[in-house]
């Protein structure tokens, strides 16, 4: 039992932390958001050069051989900077699907591009009617000739606008919510029949709605076995939860610390408002929510690191529940304690609040994961 980082992990954390402090101040971040593609290509290149994009992949696949712990370390720091570069969709989600289920040929074809920063990916797993149920799919993939034909609609695909390749979940058999019969396909962004509608998200990311109309892919586009795709999506999503949850922990740290600093300096009634006991205790609660979330973050990462078991799933759901509750409380409290200033686009507070709001929704909200936790 050991909660401390290895030397390599400490180095990784320091390196990301330094980047956030030096190159990702709030103004710089806002400039990245304004970039045409919604993030900084230069930063992406830096990420690749620093080896960050290869962290989760095995050394055999050209990566760094990192585990859930490394993912957690990076994402917590990204959360502090409110990083908009698409590490989650490209590396954790699309890359994760390949890492978990991809064939040697698929890995060879795509991972190098992800790792060297030349390839953007996305995971198209959600559908409007399905809410958070990963198996609730109306998109179909029918065998035809020596490949598949896909038809359907995929909702709110993060990094859709920039993605070169999508990992799409579709039903090859079974009824709409069967756990069997789900398959995953690699679909190039320029595939015929694939239509895209792009938009910004409230937390300043980019996403797309995808319509698939007779999109043809070859047989080797299938990730893993036909009909056995759900466990892969589940694992990818659980790793995604660890990632965005860690990001949320970083966000909360910024929020409670910013709030403490603000309350030290903002004066009303002849004294810093931080002298008011009610505000002090509210900040104590913010601090404790952050600590609680961070503790469950460690647990989730270590469990995932031990293997993808029911125990790990349970730890991930517990973490997501906590992050949902804590994020809401910390975000709302930070806005409240900043008064009017907390409501402005100008201060960074509100942007962290918005990110925490979307993190609560992503991959299933509190209710969803409470139920999953209770059932596991």
């Amino acid at each position: 039992m050991d909660f401390s980082f290895s030397e390599e992990q400490t180095l990784l954390q320091d390196s990301v932390e330094r980047f956030i402090q030096n190159d990702y101040a709030f103004e710089a971040r806002q400039n990245n958001v304004k970039d045409e593609q919604g993030f900084s290509g230069g930063n992406w290149k830096t990420f690749a050069e620093l080896g960050w994009l290869g962290v989760p992949f095995s050394e055999a696949d050209g990566g760094f051989g990192g585990s859930a712990i490394e993912s957690m370390i990076m994402m917590e720091q990204f959360g502090k900077g409110l990083v908009v570069e698409p590490f989650l969709p490209t590396v954790v989600l699309a890359g994760g699907a390949l890492k978990i289920g991809g064939s040697a040929a698929q890995k060879e074809k795509y991972l190098a591009g992800i790792i060297d920063g030349s390839l953007q990916g996305a995971l198209a797993y959600a559908e409007p009617q399905g809410r958070f149920n990963l198996a609730d799919l109306t998109t179909t993939a029918k065998k035809q000739d020596d490949g598949y034909v896909l038809n359907g609609y995929k909702a709110v695909v993060l990094n859709g606008p920039a993605a070169d390749v999508l990992v799409v979940s579709a039903r090859t058999s079974g009824d709409q919510r069967d756990t069997q019969g789900v398959s995953l396909f690699l679909v190039p962004a320029n595939a015929q029949g694939l239509a895209r509608r792009d938009y910004p998200t409230v937390d300043a990311l980019r996403a797309s709605e995808f319509t698939l109309e007779n999109v043809k892919v070859a047989a080797d586009a299938l990730i893993g076995e036909e009909g056995k795709g759900l466990p892969i999506v589940e694992q990818v999503v659980d790793e995604g939860i660890l990632a965005i949850g860690s990001e949320a922990v970083g966000c909360m740290e910024v929020l409670y610390k910013d709030t403490v600093e603000y309350c030290k300096t903002r004066e009303q009634f002849g004294q810093p408002i931080g002298k008011f006991q009610v505000l002090q205790h509210r900040m104590v609660d913010m601090f404790m929510e952050h600590e609680q979330s961070k503790s469950l973050m460690y647990m989730a990462a270590m469990r995932l690191d031990e293997g993808y078991t029911a125990e790990a799933q349970k730890a991930v759901s517990a973490f997501k529940v906590q992050v949902g509750k804590s994020g809401r409380f910390v975000g709302q409290s930070a806005v409240q304690l900043h008064g009017g200033m907390g409501m402005t686009e100008e201060l960074r507070i509100g942007h962290y609040f918005k990110r925490l709001t979307t993190i609560d929704t992503l991959f299933g909200n509190v209710d969803f994961h409470l139920k999953r936790f209770g059932a596991l």
Binding site: A155, Q176, R177, Y199, F269, E345, E346, N365
Partner: protein, 403 residues
């Protein structure tokens, strides 16, 4: 003790309903979502409504009868407020009709009343309120905008913040410091009415969460304000401000608005699916809706109790703060549930798409729901933070006979 309306009140209600149906017929009612997304499209119907109000003499029910008020009983006013909220009629300019109007009736000179009241009553003018300053929020009395008297004018310098609607207002009422060396900071404050077209008035937008623009910073540089625009006595503006802040509490619970929103939430949740059923059918979501519905029922009952206790419809002691606090929290909660109902469609933020008219992403109401949730966070800040209101209630609790 009974809930049923008296015959008189029932007759009044029928009259109100008939008026609303005639001048704000269901066919012209735009759902809130469309209104929020395309505010400019709301104008034509609104004008008709205001004309009808003015013609009927119902534009400022709560003013003294001599100034154009209706003389309604508290119950009648409650019914009017409720039914217009249910029907989502356009609302009179709150700063002019609800705040400054009654204040002018009580504190204004005859000249001031004759000059300023008719345009408000006739919905011809928009006001804004310049109270808060960058350094004076909860602690309003610490404000530093200076007004120096020069002959028959005040020369005003300073800056006001969080001024709602300043970008479309014709006039601003504001607090300024006319005397610097007083024992208590509130003793040197005066209440001025400022023409927004005056030289030296600059309005800069403040973008708030979700990139919305409702509040502004107003900078005043050597703005000349005639002494005739001083409300109340010089250096005694604090009393005016206090009277006005009390007025602000009427209707603060926003019960009817929350009821409308709650009904919409239920319908809305019925359009989202989850595991083959609708979200509205899911026990978890239904429980949360039931909880806020009960909170709202309690708030409505509390408002009715208060209304019934106060013959005048005025709020006493800490009741206004209680209604405001609870009303804000309940409204925030309903807004949160909208976003929760949206699921993934709470993420899209399609400002760009509104322009090209491609239609909303996911759900027509997605954007207003999200913006509604974000802007609702200000409800526990503006008009006094929740903490400040709790301080006032605590003060009353500790003073015997107050509660």
């Amino acid at each position: 003790m009974k809930l049923a309306l008296s015959d008189e009140d029932q007759a009044f209600l029928d009259e109100v309903l008939a008026f609303i149906v005639r001048h704000w017929p269901p066919s012209t009612r735009r759902p809130l979502e469309a209104a929020a997304v395309y505010p400019e499209q709301r104008q034509p119907e609104e004008a008709g409504w205001f004309d009808a109000l003015v013609a009927r003499g119902w534009s400022v029910p709560h003013w003294p009868v001599a100034q154009g008020g209706t003389g309604w009983t508290p119950v009648q006013r409650y019914l009017w407020d409720r039914e217009t909220a249910y029907a989502e009629t356009p609302r009179m300019d709150a700063y002019g009709a609800n705040l400054l109007g009654p204040l002018l009736c009580a504190w204004g000179t005859a000249e001031q009343r004759d000059r300023f009241l008719p345009p408000i009553r006739e919905a011809r003018v928009r006001w804004c309120q310049g109270f808060s300053e960058p350094g004076a929020g909860s602690d309003l009395a610490s404000l530093s905008t200076r007004a120096l008297r020069r002959d028959d004018k005040f020369v005003v310098n300073g800056s006001k913040t969080w001024v709602s609607g300043a970008h479309s207002a014709d006039w601003m009422f504001c607090l300024v410091r006319t005397h610097a060396e007083t024992a208590r900071p509130q003793d040197g404050i005066s209440f001025l009415l400022v023409d927004m077209k005056s030289v030296g008035v600059e309005v800069a937008p403040i973008r708030t969460l979700g990139d919305q623009h409702t509040v502004n910073r107003v900078t005043l540089t050597d703005v000349e304000v005639p002494v005739a625009n001083l409300l109340g006595q010089e250096n005694e503006g604090w009393a005016c401000a206090k009277a006005l802040l009390d007025l602000e509490r009427v209707g603060v619970a926003r019960v009817a608005q929350s009821q409308v929103q709650l009904g919409r939430l239920k319908a809305f949740a019925g359009t989202f699916t989850q595991d083959g059923g609708t979200l509205q059918e899911s026990p978890d979501f239904r429980r949360k809706v039931a909880e806020v519905e009960i909170d709202l029922a309690g708030l409505e009952a509390l408002e009715l109790r208060v209304l019934s206790q106060s013959g005048s419809g005025e709020l006493a002691g800490p009741q206004g703060s209680v209604l405001r606090l609870r009303g804000a929290e309940i409204g925030q909660r309903i807004n949160e549930l909208f976003v929760e109902a949206l699921g993934y469609y709470g993420l899209p933020y399609p400002e760009a798409l509104l322009i090209d008219n491609e239609g909303a992403i996911g759900h027509d109401y997605a954007l207003p729901a999200l913006q509604g949730m974000l802007s609702s966070r200000s409800w526990t800040v503006s008009g006094g933070t929740s903490e400040i209101h709790k301080n006032s209630i605590a003060k009353a609790l500790f003073e015997p006979g107050q509660v």
